[in-house]
Amino acid sequence: MKRYVGRRILLLIPTLFGMSILTFGVSNLTPGDPAFTFASRLANRPATPDEVAQAREDLGLEGGLVTRYVRWAGNAVQGDLGISFSTRLPVRPELVQAAKFTLQLAIPAALLALLIAVPTGVVSAVRRNRPADQVLRVLSLAGASMPSFWLALLLVVLLAVNYSLLPAAGRAGTESYVLPIVTLALAPAAVLARFTRSAVLETLTTEYVVAARAKGAGEAVVVVRHALRNALVPLVTAVGNSLGHLVGGAAVVETVFVWPGIGRLMVEAILQRDYPVIAGIVLYSGAVFAVISLVVDLLYAVIDPRIRVGSDA
């Protein structure tokens, strides 16, 4: 087990290395001068030659590509991701702060998604191919098909502007969490509902469930005690994956709701050619995502002892 974990962590290193070269390389080879962007944005007009030179110096853009990569990668290993082109502050604290804000949405959204998905999925499985199942399936597919930015706009106009029930945007007070979380939760809720349905369906046909039924256990007992419990195993994986994707999908939702999270940071960084931030986000999100999937795998092993045997395969 320990060796398995160790190997998984070691494998992360070449992955991150490859990614760092990719992000750094691509971002430095694209046309456009970040120093000019920075200085022009500051001046709100095309920058003067002096201002561009000043910005180049301030942003550490002097020197060749290789020199800069070595400097950047060397620092990145020590946890220093360089200095943001837009704020000139160290990237890492900014990134950690933004990640905190994103998680404040993503975690409740994942929980909300589960709260919607599990009952829906179980009902769907038990009432398989009956009208209730079909309606729920179409509904959950509809949820997965909804463009989140569209939904977000409609919700804002309806609830925030027309009825003034909730703030339209920004991070201020508890109410401001409601709309972003609901918007963000919809797609994973739909996906997890479908997932729960198929996981429960699978266990419903297994021998011990059939046996439990034969022993005369009530349908509710069978579903909750046996089917759902066994369906938990794959569900944990799915939730882990959803979390990673909630973070990714947050870009759009954060833009609509002006939430200072990772997604918005990324979009802004792209529009400002702030490549230390772009590279930092890609690298760190990769690392975090890898850790999440590792944890999920370990949880998997804890819930289902059978996995442990097969883990070295």
């Binding site: 179409v138 930015f149 990714g248």
Partner: protein, 306 residues
């Protein structure tokens, strides 16, 4: 992008249990599909919207790019069934013509993802060795990141635009397929009938084509169908973030992104493109879901008996 990954995990059910190839398989699938009411909604949606896209030049009541600012923000009427936008262009015509680009991109991207994933997965699974290691490493790297975030980053780095967005998406999304196909191929490779075929003197290519391919293609088809919807969502999302299509080209995502600046005066500019995206993605999803059931023998059996 959530759908892809979850699809990734559910798909092998279909693959592992698929029957060996047989004649009339398509008609069998169609028979199963036709009894699935939700799948039929998907067929109607996808078929209808694709037909609308193909027939756009005939169906469009107006020139989609004809600017006439005097008639801007026209609410839906007989002349302009879905109203006009901020420059007086007919929204219905723009949606119809935009459908070609939006659906076309989704289909092309979906097929590319499926095809690249299929080929890579088969190479890795069947030949093993160095090919497997290299492909496996690349797949690991790509799958180590949240898909949308990575696609977003890549789009930002290689530069915005519909083409670059599509390249970025395809470039990161094929990895999931490759992994599924690889494990499916690995599973098939060890099966007795493959050994038997080999003993009977069949060439590798023939075994691949006759025995392995039919077993890995169905889950890929299901996933590809669903992912066309996912791609459409992702592309409209990127367009919405300002990384998309340049004007005046009509494309659903950029129409929607543009429309939100006119929520007050022309809500139709936001509502209808969003609805079009929603319906198209829903269609892909319903169809994919139905196909999954139809291609999964257990499911179809259950359908027949229950």
């Amino acid at each position: 992008m959530t759908v892809t990954m979850t699809g990734t995990h559910t798909a092998p059910e279909g693959g592992e249990h698929a029957l060996p190839p047989e004649l009339g398989r398509v008609s069998l699938i169609w028979r199963v599909l036709r009894r699935d009411r939700t799948a039929m909604i998907g067929v109607v949606l996808v078929g209808g919207l694709v037909a609308a896209a193909v027939l756009a030049p005939v169906l469009a009541p107006h020139d989609p790019n004809a600017v006439d600012v005097v008639r801007k923000y026209h609410p839906p009427s007989r002349e302009f069934p879905l109203g006009t936008d901020n420059l007086g262009r007919d929204i219905l015509s723009r949606l119809l013509v935009g459908a070609r680009l939006s659906i076309g991109t989704a289909v092309v991207a979906g097929l590319s993802i499926g095809l690249i994933g299929l080929v890579m997965g088969m190479i890795a699974g069947w030949f093993g060795g160095v090919a497997d290691t290299v492909i496996g490493r690349v797949v690991d790297i790509l799958l180590a990141f949240p898909l949308f975030l990575l696609a977003l980053g890549m789009t930002g780095l290689i530069g915005p635009g519909l083409r670059n967005m599509t390249i970025a998406l395809v470039g990161v999304a094929w990895a999931g397929y490759a992994r599924i196909v690889r494990s499916a191929v690995l599973a098939e490779r060890g099966k007795p009938y493959v050994e038997a075929a080999r003993a009977a003197g069949a060439t590798e290519l023939r075994i691949l084509r006759k025995h392995v391919l039919p077993n890995v293609v169905p889950p890929v088809i299901v996933l590809t169908t669903i992912d066309m919807g996912v791609v459409l969502l992702a592309i409209s999302g990127l367009s919405f973030l300002g990384l998309g299509v340049k004007p005046p080209t009509a494309e659903w995502g950029s129409m929607l992104a543009e429309g939100r600046n006119y929520l007050d005066q022309g809500p139709q500019m936001t509502i209808f493109p969003g609805a079009a995206i929603f319906l198209m993605v829903l269609g892909f999803n319903l169809l994919g879901d139905g196909l999954r059931d139809a291609l999964d023998p257990r499911a179809s059996r259950a359908l027949t008996h229950g």
